[in-house]
């Protein structure tokens, strides 16, 4: 049943139904409403969880790390500078193979200070070993949390994950969302079964010292687990579809790609605007489609190659900038399509909350079809 609610509230509600045992987070715009709601739910005994209040994001994720090692299902949420402060703990959580799920309310990084949306924060943690999923709307955001726990806690995977949704654009938007009941969530997501855990009677240390003879092999194992997460996500997404009627079996998702000459590639909430723009261009006879990347880590290189067969031009929309080398998604798409003969152009767009309209998407397609790309789209050159 559809209910009308704020994106952040939808996240808090679904997290509640995923039954985390420990929650630790530090409030930061635009993630705040999520953790306010969860703190209230814990105070009202609606969730049987420990809410650990901390003095920083570093401590928040550290508390989650310890609680996860102790065998709890844990949850956190952050954004931007908060995620930057968690940098070290992120790598540790992945290396210790702890299945933490954390919501990222995507926001730009300072300086200059900006509270508005882009995806620089989570993209900057792309090498940390965390799975990364990006949601187009608040329904997908809620659903991906359940799928994330399923995938992460799989004993063949055992890695943490970000569920990313665009700050303000989704966090603060009220729209209809269908939330599964507690019984339905329980049927999809069984109780956490830790692979190994801290136990005073049988002490263990997590993430011990690895000498040069071992370190590379540990990194290899993490990479292999991420590669396996690919299949695990497809399976968990398909089973989600069977139970709830919303299919997430694709790491990528094509929209009107079948006979497309030009494909846009995008992640997150911008995909909705792109779909509307694609429909308008199609009405005018232009053969344009969208490939939405839902899972950025593991990076679905093969899925991208398969989805773009027959396409001649690709325009990648990057809500981030790998300073000194263009957009992160564009760079990886180019690597995936190397040798395919497809022309790939990258567009840095919508940084720091710059609004994107349908006409902007059309303009990007125009540029790509003219062979003009690898640029910042929509720069206000008059202030430069």
């Amino acid at each position: 049943m559809l209910e009308f609610m704020e994106g952040s509230h939808a996240v808090a509600e679904i997290v509640k139904r995923c039954r985390p045992q420990v929650i630790s987070a530090y409030p930061i715009t635009p993630q705040t409403h999520i953790v306010e709601d969860l703190a209230q739910m814990v105070a009202n005994c609606e969730i049987d969880a420990e809410y650990i209040t901390v003095e920083s994001e570093f401590s928040a994720l550290s508390a989650c790390l310890g609680a996860s090692a102790a065998g709890s299902r844990v949850y956190s949420a952050t954004t931007s500078q908060g995620l930057a402060l968690m940098f070290e703990v992120c790598f540790n959580a992945a290396g210790m193979r702890l299945p933490i799920v954390m919501t990222i309310a995507n926001r730009s990084l300072g300086a200059p200070l900006s509270i508005w949306n882009d995806q620089q924060d989570s993209i900057s943690l792309r090498d940390s070993g965390w799975l990364q999923f990006y949601a187009e709307d608040n329904q997908e955001t809620a659903d991906l949390h359940m799928i994330a726990y399923r995938v992460c806690e799989d004993h063949d995977i055992l890695l943490p994950s970000f569920v990313c949704f665009d700050g303000f654009i989704l966090t603060h938007t009220f729209e209809p969302v269908a939330l599964p009941t507690q019984e339905e969530v329980d049927a999809y997501l069984p109780a956490f079964n830790p692979y190994q855990r801290l136990d005073a009677a049988n002490p263990l240390s997590f993430g011990m010292y690895a000498t040069p003879e071992y370190y590379m092999e540990f990194r290899y194992e993490i990479d292999r687990a991420l590669q396996r997460a690919n299949k695990a996500f497809v399976k968990a997404g398909r089973e989600f579809g069977e139970q709830f009627g919303r299919d997430y079996s694709g790491l990528v998702e094509g929209y009107r790609l079948d006979d497309a000459d030009t494909a846009l590639i995008a992640m997150g909430s911008i995909c909705g605007t792109v779909k509307d723009a694609v429909d308008e261009m199609r009405e005018r006879g232009r053969k344009v489609g969208l490939l939405k990347i839902r899972a950025y880590r593991p990076f679905p290189a093969q899925e991208i190659v398969d989805a773009l067969k027959g396409v001649s031009t690709v325009a990648v929309l990057d809500k981030n900038i790998s300073l000194g080398n263009g957009g992160a998604v564009g760079t990886e798409v180019k690597a995936a399509l190397y040798g395919s003969g497809i022309s790939v152009y990258d567009y840095i767009i919508a940084l720091g909350g710059r609004d994107v309209r349908k006409k902007d998407i059309v303009a990007v397609v125009d540029l790509a079809e003219k062979g003009e790309g690898d640029l910042f789209y929509g720069l206000r050159t008059e202030v430069l």
Partner: protein, 167 residues
């Protein structure tokens, strides 16, 4: 933002898809902000701000001096403006119908505070016909409880009747 949220919620209750979001920035009550609402028979995918509104609500008339609130409106559009001065001077685009309502006074009388969201919601419902009184009241009663709900429903209904008479 509360007005946008409530209007979108009432529209949703009335059986359409809807979306409400603020022009994000300063999140304190009273600061000048924009908020946007979309209705549609189909699921709404578009996330951009609204540049060509069918309807506008101006909560604070002093903004009219500094901002072209009618920007992007075209013929057939409807504007609802909260002001105590019915002779307020502003340039209205051709074909845009303007409803003036003293929502601040109504809110003060009914709620005891100069918060005009629910009053303007009633005016919007009457002026545009986009939402009925029943889903409007439902939206208010799920947002507010007890006597606050009653007061807000009364404020909205007063504006609805006032504008309904003029529409």
């Amino acid at each position: 933002m509360t007005a946008a949220e409530l209007i979108a919620y009432a529209a949703f209750e009335g059986g359409v898809f809807s979306q409400a979001f603020p022009a994000f920035g300063v999140e304190r009550r009273g600061a000048p902000v924009q908020a946007f609402v979309r209705f549609s028979d189909e699921k709404i995918r578009l996330r951009s701000q609204i540049y060509e509104p069918d309807y506008i609500i101006v909560q604070d008339p002093t903004l009219i001096r500094d901002v072209d609130v009618f920007n992007g409106m075209s013929s057939g559009g409807i504007a609802i403006i909260n002001t105590e001065k019915p002779d307020l001077d502003f340039r209205v685009p051709e074909g845009v119908k303007v409803y003036i309502i003293d929502a601040t006074t109504i809110a003060l009388e009914e709620l005891g505070v100069p918060i005009t969201n629910t009053t303007l919601m009633g005016a919007f419902a009457a002026a545009t016909g986009e939402i009925g009184l029943e889903p409007l009241e439902h939206a208010l009663r799920s947002r507010f409880s007890g006597s606050m709900a009653d007061k807000n429903v009364r404020a909205a209904e007063r504006a609805y009747t006032l504008i309904g008479g003029a529409a």
